[in-house]
Symmetry: D2
Subunit: 330 residues, 4 copies
């Protein structure tokens, strides 16, 4: 229970269902005296929104953020920052038919099993709209990290050729399927020493942070799965004067602690499960049925996941940055 | 700070350096009235020990466990179980030369940067011997899960051909290098409903649990990185009567919550960094130097990691099992 | 940092400054399928509001609650419940003179020292209005406990005679001072077995819960400070058939675990520090000055603290109720 | 569950039953490079032991501490410190008769209800010997605080006259009863700014820390229960130049945050429940019976609680000291 919080000292708690009144977050533990405005957050929420490309859902909302607390005269107070986005573009009617069906690849079935009740409107809490809270927490973390000259940048990678069936372009009007991809994230400027021994290693927490994003099914640090076939002499990052590493197979983390190198993370993003193609499933009474999910869907969500990955990584780095203060008794 | 605990309700805190007096764990939150003996734990510690194969370090210790608390007349009391293993086969002299050097691929450099002090004898806390505490916590979790008919089984996979240079067999006497591999873990019998929304998804916590193992550089759930190239219709696990899934690309977890299918995890294990081959590095004064780590080393640790993976996965599943009680207000 | 959350499984995180846009709470871990409406919460917020008696501040706000998430078709979803109250009756102008002064008995000085910044309008986060978030979390806990036939009831006790200077009645128009009092709280119907050993004893957590209320300076369980002068034979609660106790000096808690008896807590409430009488203090530049806090103040807040105490106690009991499930391996 | 840990950044987890093999603690998060020896801890364990006065139990053990990890060449490593004390003076035979009886004032009944099993030998985990782990954690915290010139000192207060029946001295050979008392604790040198808003106020955590000690039934901060009868003008601590307070009714804490004044705590200690006088109780089958607890008991434990109070307070202050680093974004 109580799995809607992330972080120890910089602690983000999110709330909201896809078709409820609002979604948002409380950020507890943000350092005081940081300049912060709604615009700082809005920039990142805009990157999360469906864009004008053909790949995104046509559900178009402004996702306008409002800060309710924790900021006074443009500066953070050190007290909890609550910020939220009200839902506006809600068309509930179309979800009526999904009330009694478990959509394949979605969390409909597992939420029903766990809670004995669920908000069936577009997945409720398990919808991708849940990431609004993450981006709020991430935008503030990114701002705080910038003060320490630490940057977090991700980019997506995907291949649409399987959707075009040999044609030059995808026929977005009639495409029945979706495609996955890869997101890579790099942290630059992170000092050596971040990360805690044994269970709360920096790479362990980054893996949790990223795997908690709904669409992620795999996480690699540095050379990742390639290490399985490497020799020790190929994988070890040798060192030279100036505390420089001659390679970065470790992805910037040794023994769970940052080594000053770039931190490199690579994530597998699954194709969005909402597709127009006919699929087998069961209804809530256990009867087999079929479902075709036409309508407002993303063909590829990789571009929209990018800012969510940056948010989760930034929240983790900031939290560990704060945890690393005063470790030494000097 | 304080990163040596794992779990929320079934909470394991470990301690110990490679060449200190002892290593062990306190398990807090183990259900009462569970039958438990030292032998139950010893079986798993024996699997963690270097075995007689040529792949393992010749450091041979009995790793005999002693339970100090929490068990009375053969049953758990519900109070904290402290169990430990005393170090015995300690040859400190040989580590003197490593006092001032950062071994490539090891945590020597990052511990020095973080703490300003380190136990240089075989990595101290960052040594693989740290996993003794994990296996103690895991063995008890596995025992508790068996009462619920949940099993956790892992197996390793690696390819030694690169070490034999075309010969039929590896010449273990003179091999200068090490090799990585893959560990796969399957949980059977796990009921649907385990996992918490958003940040504490079951797959997120499993990713953290496994990535916290020193040698792990990648984690996949179900189809893992393959999802990046799949269509939605290929990746979605369709359902049929009897609440059965027609495939298991999700690896038993949907929306962060177990769906009753087998939970499937795949991990990348890096080659052990301790190799005989000459490598460049620096000493603690920043001067470049070279190092050859001859002596008591593992050529491939994959077989020994298997029981550690089972331990981490079992601890996670048990913790989430306990968290899932009484979620519904019935 | 991050001190704005309470509880482990039933976890309440609050936000909001006295004169910010809104105050509220996220409740994470509320059991699903519980009937819940805004009215359920409003009833308790109304008890927290200044009442019509002469004892309360004339700041009169409706404190109307809005639920933003976690409730669907009148039932809790098991997902986080966010509920908030917008501030309305904000007269900021009068606080301008307090911008540079530390009010005696208030947290102005300590917030400035801790954060280097503060919302000087009526104490900001340290204002009594912060308890709105507590009452939201408490109202829902009380509703959940009722399903288990557990009730939480507090009442206040205070003596106004010192304010009337021998007169029959207090002259509220001209009273320059405030008075403290006592709040007693009783939990009925709590089963035996709630509470965790050693550090998280039920009475320890109740003490924390109550002492975290701004005005509380003392906490007693059962016979409280009277035990200091008692003999063991007077203090021990002897038992008889039917698992009945012959007295309740323990206040329903033995060894930190509930024994099935009424849980009895007694709290010391300090007089509200905002008084009209002239007091010495310093300004933010360190210069000595004097201050008279005329205006909208409570003469005695004991009656208003009562519902806050009930809220904190109910949150604690519910959290421990949930923690006590499945402790035994049966 | 999992209630055997205390603290967030300086985190102490204890284990051990009164008549098990050993008792001890793991301290996670102790700053590195702190000088630490077994002698540093032993000094405090010696103060906890029954002394030669007539007031203490004749159970005389050396309680010799052994550090197993986390210290290297006389300095803390920043890794977990495990330290333990082996039980030696165990006379189990005499406890056989208590196997089936719930001793009045003890936790026998509640442990049985909670866990369905208990170590009946002198209370098992609920015995006062559990405080060995607290004193280990406290002794290290006190050492770390000294580096910051923060001291923690407690003293006891009790009145034996009720035990002597008018005689000049207590006849310890035949005394049938026990007596309670008061412990006062003062923290000097604590800087302003320690404590977190709302739920994790410094006084709230101190109340929890102290109330978690088995014998404590009441906690006061500063003027404590006296505030109930005070006027605001009497209770408020006015300020003058040099950031000095003209009184200390707040006990050094305003709004949950330390103000630089001495922190003053006062605790009610109940009489030890183990008395020779005949008392009514029930056995585990529910039958009424009588019990006389002759043998090795404390007449007054106040003197022995003093070092436990110092330990809990020191652990709390150190944890909050570490939490207060880098709160401001300067």
């Amino acid at each position: 229970m109580a799995g809607n919080s992330f972080g120890k000292l910089y602690r983000v708690t999110t709330f909201g269902e896809s078709h409820g009144k609002a979604l948002g977050a409380i950020i507890d533990g943000c350092p005081s005296n940081l300049s912060l405005s709604e615009e700082d957050i809005q920039l990142y929420l805009n990157r999360r929104r469906p864009n004008d490309s053909d790949l995104s859902t046509p559900r178009k909302e402004k996702d306008k953020v409002e800060i309710l607390s924790g900021v006074f005269e443009g500066k953070t107070l050190g007290t909890p920052i609550c910020a939220l986005v009200r839902n506006e573009d809600i068309v509930t009617s179309e979800y009526g038919t999904l009330k009694n069906i478990f959509r394949p690849g979605h969390a409909d079935y597992t939420y029903e099993k766990k809670y004995g009740i669920r908000d069936y409107r577009s997945g409720g809490r398990s919808s991708g709209r849940e990431t609004i809270g993450r981006v709020i927490g991430g935008a503030i973390a990114i701002k705080a990290l910038k003060e320490k000259n630490i940057t977090v940048t991700a980019r997506g990678n995907y291949d649409l050729s399987r959707l075009s069936n040999g044609a030059d372009e995808v026929d977005y009007e009639n495409v029945e399927d979706s495609i996955g991809g890869i997101v890579e994230c790099v942290v630059k400027g992170c000092p050596a020493g971040l990360g805690e021994p044994v269970f709360e290693k920096l790479d362990a927490e980054l893996a949790k942070a990223c795997m908690s994003i709904g669409a992620v099914k795999g996480v690699e640090i540095g050379a990742g799965f390639d290490v399985a076939g490497m020799l020790g002499s190929e994988n070890n990052d040798q060192m030279t004067v100036g505390e420089k590493f001659l390679s970065n197979n470790a992805g910037g983390i040794l023994g769970g602690i940052s080594n000053g190198n770039d931190i490199v993370i690579r994530l597998a993003i699954k194709p969005t499960p909402t597709i127009a193609k006919k699929q087998k499933t069961i209804d809530i009474y256990g009867n087999e049925t079929e479902v075709e999910l036409k309508g407002r869907n993303d063909v590829c969500i990789v571009d929209r996941v990018v800012v969510v990955v940056e948010s989760m990584v930034a929240m983790t780095i900031l939290d560990y940055y704060l945890q690393n203060i005063n470790v030494q008794n000097i």
